[in-house]
Symmetry: C2
Subunit: 442 residues, 2 copies
């Protein structure tokens, strides 16, 4: 570790200069949004805001919040803020409706993305010639591609392993001498247990040194367990598809919160009820602004992630603020297998089937992996073939919600939900098991 | 189409100059292989060949062939021909054994890959600002990533849709106004039929103009059907994971064979029995040499793909030789859902389970999608729980062979295979249905 920072000048820039840079970028992005996007122009006009009202960093508070529903309403092109010919790749966030929210990335956006991820891979200790086995999904969601770009930028060898093929993943770790893995913590746990089952001691016999874990809530206890099982140092990372995450925030070796790159994003912490800023270090809801976005700017986005923000100096030398562990969400969204799933979206899919009456979603965990089941009662008077209907519902949910559930069609009345409003119930056994830790955690 | 070629100088270079360039690149790659790879040094020494014996293009015939088994025997690092610190990403080809063959790509290899794919996307008529919805898999196999790189290079917008989520894919085509799709022809057929089922007329109502179809055998009839169903011009493309395909060969508008980029690859056509060269235009087995590879060079690789090669001038103006439609394979490998699957590999997986006796593989197609079933008889005297065993076999096959089969454990004797050697049988209903066309084809 002769060179501790990927980009010393930017990572250790004094807070005052960082905030001055943020204020300038904020002015620019609001100005551009107002000029290029009908969505933002209308939003700001309705709020009586002109770009010229935004001068200092505190002026961000004058801007209305946006949320998933608002950006979803702009489908398909409302979030594009550049000429289409400048777009190089399209990614997507999920929504509460059946549509995706397209995120348009220009060459500059992709370049910034690579820079953010390179910083993170370097920060956790990976170096040129090291292998990073990247088991986040590759595709519309941004997990896989982000670290792939970052690894290339930092000279680290990206293995786009994607999800699944656990035995092959274990073989690669052992046979290639992989140093770093990036995946969901629940999948890492499954992988570690499967290796044990095969008599392979990853902690003792592999070259693993670093694990990057994200895309679902986790706890200190879980990370400690992974560190022991896999023989590595476990780092938490944070990102949202709306912002071309990953690359938004990650733990340094101090592990007292995740540094959020302030030269790319502005993070606020608000009182979820009033929208007023929380005092530094006080828990609230994270609100993010993407300061250097060119293709799709998301400004003052309510993430519904509950955490806290601190600018307290970090012993690692990085000056960027830290967000603490995400303690939960305040919008009822479910994290299933790394995807944010809204019960209302499952309901939207079910509405496509007039023969479906009420339903119940059951979440559980088996060997550390999320297990997602839907029990369905037919509508009154509907004649259904239970097996055929279950198959059609399964593929419809998979198509729109991305996660694949087990679906069972059960006799009418057996869920005790007939006439209920909303016509469904969510049971999450994972929470009561305390797997995602509560009081503990950093 | 004011600019018909992506790279006019290289795509229309006279054959004589192309071949001179190939001869120089061949000398260089053999020299480097000899110097950097124990595998090639031993291979060439045993054959009594020194790099200095390779002077002209015809001298390539002095070099011994390599095949999957040979490169698989070098696992894990035998195919790496550069310092590990120069590697930027790792991809993989499947083998007959349970391991992958890692393909090591340097920054230069990735740059060449982007160039090859950009040429193809431009050749079929996509232009900056167009969307390419890329439904090849993203991950270790090279399909998705290749066209993603090429699109970025050519200024085309890559949508890394990956496989699955068919309804979402249809929505994106319609809502974003997608111009190009890249996917397996069988998946395109499924997608088109599903759109029909939803009352969406892709041919009449979408912006589709181009389809790139590859990764499995196809026919003129199938492409004509896709053209009609989806309202686009259908182009066949060809690539192998061993060579960071896609980007090896693709049809131009003339559609009389696929141009194989001669400044990157040398393609020969041999008599499969004798290894002697076929006369130009005569059918035989394709043998490929990767002329500009830096990380992993594959030299004189027997593809087992049956086709023919012609240098006849093409009306499109491109001078690179053309390979005709792949009429089949001569090694018994199966193409299942776009993956090359060796029955021997399934057998390797089955051997991991002492309770498995004999088995039967059944391939069929349902709505144009491959359907892969394995029927298993237990070993004599083995006490098995049929459902549990089927589940374990399914995930083991999925893990190593990548395709997921339906697995049924049936009573001993019911397949009529007891005591058979090899202990399995392959039944491919897809062939007898003539789906992959026979006499027709270009």
């Amino acid at each position: 570790m002769t060179r501790p920072y990927w980009n010393r000048a930017l990572e250790t820039m004094p807070r005052e200069r960082l905030e001055k840079m943020q204020a300038r970028m904020l002015r620019e992005v609001v100005e551009r949004a107002y000029r290029k996007s009908i969505f933002y122009r209308d939003l700001y006009r309705d709020a009586g805001i002109m770009p010229s009202d935004i001068r200092t960093l505190e002026d961000v508070r004058k801007l209305p919040f946006v949320d998933k529903a608002a950006i979803a309403s702009t489908y398909p092109f409302g979030m594009r803020m550049c000429d289409q010919a400048k777009v190089r790749s399209l990614h997507a966030a999920t929504t509460t409706t059946r549509h995706i929210v397209p995120i348009f990335a220009t060459a500059l956006d992709l370049d910034h993305w690579a820079e953010r991820c390179a910083r993170i891979l370097w920060m956790v200790g990976l170096r040129p010639g090291d292998f990073l086995q990247n088991a986040f999904r590759f595709g519309l969601s941004t997990g896989g591609v982000g670290f792939h770009l970052g690894a290339k930028r930092a000279g680290i060898i990206s293995i786009p392993a994607s999800t699944g093929g656990t035995d092959r993943q274990i073989d690669m770790i052992m046979d290639l001498g992989v140093q770093g893995i990036a995946m969901m913590p629940s999948y890492a746990l499954y992988l570690g247990l499967r290796a044990q089952e095969r008599g392979i001691d990853l902690a003792g016999e592999s070259s693993l040194k670093v694990g990057l874990f994200g895309a679902e809530p986790t706890s200190v206890r879980m990370k400690r367990r992974l560190a022991e099982l896999l023989g590595l140092e476990a780092f938490g990372e944070y990102g949202m598809n709306e912002f071309l995450g990953p690359g938004m925030a990650c733990q340094c070796a101090v592990k007292h919160g995740m540094h959020a790159w302030a030269d790319h994003y502005l993070v606020e912490c608000i009182d979820p009820a009033t929208g007023e800023p929380m005092a530094e270090g006080e828990p609230g809801e994270l609100v993010w602004t993407w300061l250097n976005a060119e293709g799709t700017a998301v400004i003052r986005y309510r993430s519904h992630d509950l955490s806290e923000v601190t600018w307290e100096p970090c012993p690692c030398g990085r000056t960027h603020p830290r967000v603490r562990r995400i303690s939960g969400r305040n919008d009822g969204a479910l994290s299933i297998g790394g995807y944010i799933v809204y019960p209302s979206k499952i309901a939207h899919v079910m509405e496509l089937f007039p023969e479906v009456g009420t339903f119940q979603v059951i979440l559980d965990s088996v060997k550390g992996l999320d297990c997602f089941t839907i029990m369905v009662e037919p509508e009154k008077g509907a004649e259904v073939d239970p097996v055929r209907l279950a198959g059609r519902l399964q593929s419809a949910v998979k198509s729109y919600v991305v996660c694949t559930p087990m679906v069972h069609v059960v006799p009418r009345g057996s869920l005790g939900l007939v006439g209920a409003d909303p016509p469904y119930r969510i049971i999450d056994y994972r929470r009561s098991s305390g797997r995602y830790g509560g009081a503990e955690g950093e």
